[in-house]
């Protein structure tokens, strides 16, 4: 008898059901009664970071962008296009590849069971031919070109390249035209066999769905071939220094106002996941308190015309990296960088505005409650935290528990001049 383990979150007033299948596949269900649309995500912990791994006893490295290429090819079906199959159910299907995951998902109003069965089926097998692999290259090259025309994408990925020298965070998730053209059918098959295995995967379902029999229905779709697969040994990521590779990088676009991203490299060495989450939330809260819309910094910079409402900041982390990022549009990005560094220096010396910290904590709690209005947000956020090895509900609990001291200590450790890089996209300087 397959059983759910149920936990309740007091802040969101939401529940999550969990079951770990004997194969190692983890299954989650978040009930959302009253909502029309239902969502399912079937994902593997395999993304652009996992290009090197052990295969047939040997360590191999794949061309860049192969996880994303494979995501495209999973949609190949010998009998009928996968998009058509879902459309016939009134459902829509899609997928994404990130640094650490490839996730296939669908949403539907009706016929959820049929859609779920279809999702499980098409991800559990791959249909590659030399011809269909070649054909995909043109499509992917056009996808990469569309990103190259997006200055916001370019300014951000340029920043990662400037900050990181060895870590694959510096590589575009989709690779480049040359690496994509190089990819073969045999390589795609090797990646598929190595990472599309139950113990490396997760299934997350949310919506107005009866959880009875849900597990039985999922199990009925798991194939012998799938259940027999074992995950390849992933090669550990290179050790990355905290010093940035380059302090400045510039790209040229015809943008009316320059775009900038300022990144500061942090570490993610914590004694526990709990400490990691509490620190992350504390840092985010401190940043919003001292640099967000209610801060003196924001007011001064806005009034001087150095930033506009696009200015924002965050602290981002994964299982092998962490960085702060501040970005937006500015007529003078260099001045923003200078003022920001000065303001952080003052903050590290004088300490956190604790009254402001409590105000931002209230805001975070309110915003989290509001976001639980969306079934899509809840389920997709659950997926992305899972892929980082974390639990969304535990993360939310940390919002009420964290203290300003935790984030401040971390900032004192990591916010240093040689950890800072800036990426700018502006119009090409005209020759005098």
């Amino acid at each position: 008898m397959m059983k759910w383990e149920i936990t309740t979150d007091q802040v969101l007033e939401e529940q999550v059901y969990k079951h770990t299948h004997v194969s190692g596949l983890e299954i989650y269900f978040i009930p959302k009664p009253g909502f029309t649309k239902k969502y399912a995500y079937f994902g593997t912990r395999y993304g652009s970071f996992n290009n090197c791994f052990e295969h047939d006893g040997q360590e191999i490295c794949m061309p860049k962008g192969i996880a994303h290429f494979l995501e495209h090819k999973i949609f190949e079906d010998p009998e009928r296009n996968i998009f058509d199959k879902f459309a016939a159910l009134g459902a829509s299907v899609n997928a994404y590849t990130s640094f650490n995951a490839t996730v296939y998902h669908f949403s539907t109003v009706d016929q959820f069971d049929e859609g779920l069965a279809e999702l499980l089926r098409f991800v559990q097998r791959v249909n590659l031919t030399e011809e269909n692999v070649e054909k995909e290259k043109g499509i992917i090259v056009q996808e990469l070109k569309s990103y190259e025309d997006d200055p916001e994408y370019v300014v951000f990925f340029n920043l990662l390249k400037a900050m990181y020298e060895a870590h694959p965070l510096r590589d575009d998730i989709g690779g480049d035209e040359a690496s994509v053209r190089e990819i073969t059918k045999a390589q795609l098959e090797a990646c598929y066999e190595s990472f599309y295995a139950p113990e490396n995967m997760v299934l997350i379902i949310s919506g107005d769905i009866d959880p009875d029999q849900l597990l039985e229905r999922v199990e009925a779709e798991l194939t012998e071939n799938y259940l027999s697969r074992k995950t390849a040994h992933k090669k550990p990521l290179p050790v990355e220094p905290l010093k940035v590779a380059n302090q400045y990088v510039e790209g040229n676009f015809d943008v009316p106002v320059p775009l900038f991203e300022i990144g500061v490299k942090g570490h993610n060495r914590f004694e526990s996941d709990k400490a990691l989450m509490r620190t992350a939330i504390s840092v985010k809260t401190i940043l919003d308190t001292h640099f967000g819309k209610g801060s003196n910094f924001y007011k001064e910079m806005y009034d001087e015309g150095l930033i506009n409402s696009s200015f924002g900041m965050d602290y981002t982390f994964g299982d092998s990296y962490a960085y702060y990022v501040f970005g937006g549009e500015s007529v003078n990005p260099e001045a923003v960088r200078e003022r920001l560094v000065k303001a952080v220096g003052e903050l590290l010396e004088t300490g956190v505005d604790t009254e402001g910290f409590e105000r931002i904590r209230k805001k975070m709690i309110g915003r989290l409650i509001s976001s639980a209005n969306s079934v899509q947000y809840l389920s997709s956020a659950y997926v992305s935290y899972f892929m980082k090895g974390l639990d969304l509900f535990e993360y939310i609990r940390s919002v009420s528990e964290t203290t300003p001291e935790e984030g401040l200590a971390y900032m004192k450790d990591t916010f240093k001049e040689d950890h800072i890089a800036m990426s700018v996209v502006r119009q090409e300087a005209k020759a005098e």
Binding site: S92, G292, N308, E329, G366, S370
Partner: protein, 423 residues
């Protein structure tokens, strides 16, 4: 799931729509002011909405206001404009969570703040504060100029702008930079007073609240004196085409953006409206569409290709990103697929998929408070039924012949290509 609805006229020019849905953890109160779409209106309304949320008489700068919002559990304000068909809308909204862990009902504070933003702006010497006016004017100019950062959206906007070069539809939702330069603070303040006094206003509240409590609050805060309401004309759908126009413009891009504009000559009161929506969906409105299957999946010409239709204006367009040297081939293949549609070369199953896709989107609107609020307002503004199932039935009765017949009305008006600067 929507649990209850109530509409009432609370003042001569103000309608209140209360929508109860227990599943939501927030309450959203939206004020809609309907305006005609002209270049001057778009510019002035856009500038106005950017000033209104910079501070009010009681919260005299953005910092004070933002701290108030944070302190109210991340209460969120929206102050923006949008172009709906050939009309302009000002939207002022407030959203806040409703939860036992907050320990208090934020409704009264939320309604009061929305009213404050609407009726009690920050002024000095009978106009807006000069420093804020000048700052927001500069920021809006940057915002309009930054349109070119999103090349695909920009190409779509340019295509429609050129296609409708004598119709109000051409105006950008945020207005025109040259006109913006000439706007004075006095002029904007006068416009503000005009907007507040002479616009049709609708308040839509959606959440899990007591109807009488909210109606009482809205009546207290939003009951303007009787005034003459500015007329807002309907869209002109039947605009004749003289001949196909072809425009290409150079820009520093890696990939060409192709946009083809069509006129469907079908308004929403026309029986052909429903088959027309289905035609558009089968042609290019979903991943199982003819354009996606052939130009992407079969020919590997592009990563994205799709169609959209403006239901009020009756304009459809195709948009895709392609290599510069694939321009002729892409155009030719799009024409082939269009002709195939007119020849009836699509199946009952294609129709079924398109219908399910549209029906599913319609039914899912009630999952999102903001989408449902906008949907509900637009339906009442147009005096169209608000019951989604009414439309579901109409889509279900459409036949293949009706889709082909609807398609025959469509005329290609303008081909726009954003090409590389070297080309």
């Amino acid at each position: 799931m929507i649990d209850a609805l109530r509409t009432s006229r609370i003042a001569p020019q103000v309608d209140l729509h209360l929508i109860k849905s227990k599943k939501f953890k927030t309450d959203l109160i939206s004020l809609y002011l309907l305006r005609p779409l002209t270049m001057e209106e778009a510019t002035l309304n856009a500038l106005l909405t950017r000033i209104l949320d910079r501070g009010t008489a009681n919260y005299p700068d953005a910092q004070v206001l933002n701290r108030y919002l944070d302190d109210h559990y991340g209460m969120a304000l929206v102050s923006d404009v949008s172009k709906v068909g050939e009309r302009h809308q000002i939207q002022l909204k407030v959203q806040f969570p409703r939860s036992p862990i907050i320990g208090k009902n934020l409704m009264a504070d939320g309604v009061a703040l929305l009213s404050e933003m609407t009726y009690n702006p920050l002024t000095a010497d009978g106009k807006f504060q000069d420093s804020i006016f000048e700052m927001e004017k500069r920021q809006l100019k940057q915002e309009i100029e930054s349109r070119i950062n999103d090349k695909t959206t920009y190409a779509v906007d340019r295509c429609l702008e050129l296609m409708c070069d004598t119709e109000p539809y051409r105006f950008y939702a945020y207005g025109d930079v040259d006109y913006l330069e000439t706007v004075t603070n006095e002029q904007l303040f006068e416009h503000y007073q005009q907007v507040i006094a002479h616009s049709k206003m609708d308040v839509v509240a959606i959440g899990d609240f007591d109807f009488d409590e909210v109606e009482g609050l809205i009546k207290e805060y939003f009951s303007p004196a009787l005034n003459e309401v500015i007329p807002v004309p309907e869209e002109r759908v039947h605009v004749p085409i003289e001949s196909l126009r072809v425009v290409s413009e150079p820009m520093n891009v890696q990939q060409g953006k192709l946009v083809i504009g069509y006129r469907t000559y079908t308004d929403r009161k026309d029986p052909a409206y429903y088959p027309m929506q289905l035609f558009c969906a089968i042609f290019g409105g979903m991943p199982s569409s003819k354009l996606f299957m052939n130009l992407r999946e079969k020919e590997s010409l592009c990563y994205f290709i799709g169609t959209k239709i403006d239901k009020l204006k009756g304009i459809m367009y195709v948009v895709s990103g392609i290599d510069f040297d694939k321009y002729d081939q892409a155009n030719q293949l799009i024409d082939v697929e269009f002709e195939q549609m007119l020849a009836g070369n699509f199946s009952e199953e294609d129709i079924d998929m398109a219908r399910k896709s549209i029906v599913s989107s319609l039914r899912a609107i009630s999952d999102y408070p903001n989408s449902f609020s906008n949907f509900y307002y637009n339906q009442t503004m147009l005096e169209d039924p608000v019951d989604v199932e009414h439309y579901v039935r109409l889509f279900e009765s459409v036949t293949k012949e009706q889709i082909v017949e609807a398609g025959k009305r469509i005329q290609k008006d303008l081909i726009y290509f954003l090409k590389g600067s070297e080309a």
